[in-house]
Amino acid sequence: MPVEIDIEHVAKLARLDLSDDESARLRTQLAQILEHAARVGEVAAADVPPTASPIPRANVYREDVPEPSLPADEALRNAPERDGDRFRVPRIAETGA
């Protein structure tokens, strides 16, 4: 059964501008890929535990050793736009009131 995907909704979750062409193509391709991928349900029985990482490790700690940080100029070197020692971005909240 072909999978119906709300492409506009998913693109919104992914913060991705898509052209109409891209959306149409993705609708077809994702349905095709998901039809194949859904085969995982055929063998993944309820009593099989999931594995998130092939070599499981938990709670990896290291000593908390103070080290010099990256200098601000280095950290900002690739900034699309900077303002002193800060990243400059377009408005992030409504202004006023």
């Binding site: 898509l18 349900g41 993944a44 029985a45 070599i55 690739n78 990243f87 377009p90 992030i92």
Partner: protein, 493 residues
């Protein structure tokens, strides 16, 4: 074009350097001449580091002339896939979104090689963010296979594989998330190693799918692969997933042979959809192993058929999360023009900066992780990973090494599969299970098919048993005694 210094193996170059028969500067010059001669037809590099390399080689020659102890890596020209960060050298991931990104730090894998004296010749082209199997997904154009420049080198580490095959570099690093080192190694006729998950630090490897990503090596011999891993392997406090276990001496037992070694042939990897030329070449290589005294049996990995499905849920899911960082704020592209607010800027930046395959995977992963679908897709795929691991555990009770073709086909034509994502994804059907299971695997050339294109055989070992992997691969390589020189290097052309 006659054989030059850049056509020698790392071990041979190291011996010549130690004996004072050549210098790091001469070796580098040979590699750079080769790049000048073939690069317009191969296109392996996105950035060349000629100046840095020359300075580095001069420093090394001054050091070597003191007679000080020398690492087997010193003076070897190395190329790096452009997903590994290099301090002060542009690192693009084959993407427009990082076109001008200059990292302020070195990846640990590169820092270790550099610390041992390796010379960086350049950063290699790859599929955008390592997503692809043909190198056609790079924002900077395709790489061409030195064996036939109308064909793909494989991917995603296509530039690294092609550079080593053409002698532009003696060694290269790549990354392998679903086969991205082994498949291009197979298609370009070189040796490609994906070690155990966690064996090499990933600090500075720009992330694609974190539960699968592995740094891997390209070389022209198994011994060189072992020499490289010797330097690369080990714990790194900057990567919590790097394993804190001892590193064995990888070249020590490499000549031990395969007498009595139990080799399991993965039966389903010789069925429908596999080129007859691939089957014939790999079967002949298995006969060689038997002739060397290995005991050959058959083994099934019943859930490997589902591994591809699981992979195309797990990898896109993790990618959709990892690539959320490209938001036009701290580095990389910001879409030009005025933006009403930051959110609109992010939509525009990501829409303009990512190519079609990356968008496809981000969308697939975002969907698979979204409310209502998580259990059916990502949750179920994680269970299939458990089944794949159990398959390996059962197989490695009976066998020391598993063998199969690396890829179902030899190098295909540029454009041939570009419009069919599912056909492209099937390239990785034999390589993906090792990523899901975290086990080490190596691809070495088994010969050429009737069309004169390289075929690769994949050997797989249990987690952390790289020593047995190298020993078996080296024995087979010695018995096959292939002399692989791409046509590109034979004529004047």
């Amino acid at each position: 074009m006659s054989a030059e210094l850049c056509d020698l193996t790392g071990a041979e170059l190291s011996a010549k350097l130690a004996a004072g028969e050549t210098s790091a500067s001469d070796v580098l010059a040979s590699s750079q001449r080769r790049i000048d001669a073939v690069e317009d037809r191969v296109g392996a590099f996105l950035t060349r580091t000629d100046q840095l390399a020359s300075e580095r080689a001069e420093e090394l020659d001054a050091y070597l002339s003191t007679g000080a102890p020398q690492s087997p890596v010193a003076g070897i020209p190395v190329a790096l896939k452009d997903v590994l960060t290099t301090n002060g050298v542009r690192t693009t991931c084959g993407s427009k979104i990082l076109e001008t990104y200059v990292p302020p730090y070195d990846a640990t894998a590169w820092a270790r090689l550099a610390g041992a004296g390796a010379v960086l010749v350049g950063k290699t082209n790859c599929d955008e963010f390592a997503m692809g199997s043909s190198n056609e997904n790079s924002a900077y154009g395709p790489v061409r296979n030195p064996w036939d420049t109308d064909r793909v080198p494989g991917g995603s580490s296509g530039g690294s594989a092609a550079a080593v095959a053409a002698g532009e570099a003696v060694w290269a690093l790549g990354t392998d998330t679903g086969g991205s080192v082994r498949q291009p190694a197979s298609l370009c006729g070189v040796v490609g190693l994906k070690p155990t998950y966690g064996r090499i630090s990933r600090y500075g490897l720009i992330a694609f799918a974190s539960s699968l990503d592995t740094v891997g090596t390209f070389s022209r011999t198994v011994r060189d692969s072992a020499s490289m891993l010797q330097i690369l392997a080990g714990h790194d406090p900057r990567d919590a997933t790097s394993l804190d276990v001892p590193v064995p001496a990888y070249t020590d037992g490499i000549d031990g042979g395969v007498a009595g070694l139990r080799v399991g042939v993965v039966t389903e990897a010789f069925g429908e959809g596999v080129d007859p030329g691939v089957v014939a070449s790999v079967r002949a290589a298995i006969d060689q192993l038997e002739g060397l005294g290995a005991s050959i049996g058959e083994v099934e990995l019943p859930h490997a058929a589902y591994a591809l499905s699981a992979y195309y849920l797990i990898a896109p899911s993790e990618c959709s999360s990892n690539l959320a960082r490209y938001d036009g704020v701290r580095y990389g592209l910001r879409a030009p023009g005025e933006h009403a607010d930051s959110i609109e800027m992010m939509f525009a930046t990501r829409g303009q900066g990512f190519g079609p395959e990356v968008k496809r995977r981000i969308m697939l992963g975002t969907y698979a992780l979204s409310a209502g679908y998580y259990e059916a897709y990502y949750g179920q795929a994680q269970k299939v990973r458990t089944l794949v691991i159990r398959n390996y555990e059962a197989a490695f009770e009976r066998f020391d090494i598993l063998v199969s073709p690396t890829s179902p086909t030899t190098a295909f034509r540029i454009g041939e599969k570009a419009d069919d994502p599912m056909a492209m994804y099937l390239n990785d059907i034999f390589t993906i299970p090792a990523n899901l299971g975290g086990v080490p695997a190596i691809s070495i050339p088994s010969g050429l098919d009737d069309a004169g294109l390289p075929v690769g055989i994949q050997l797989t070992a249990p987690a952390l048993d790289e020593p047995t992997l190298f020993r078996a691969a080296h024995a087979l390589e010695s018995a096959l005694s292939l002399d692989l020189r791409p046509p590109l290097l034979q004529g004047a052309g």
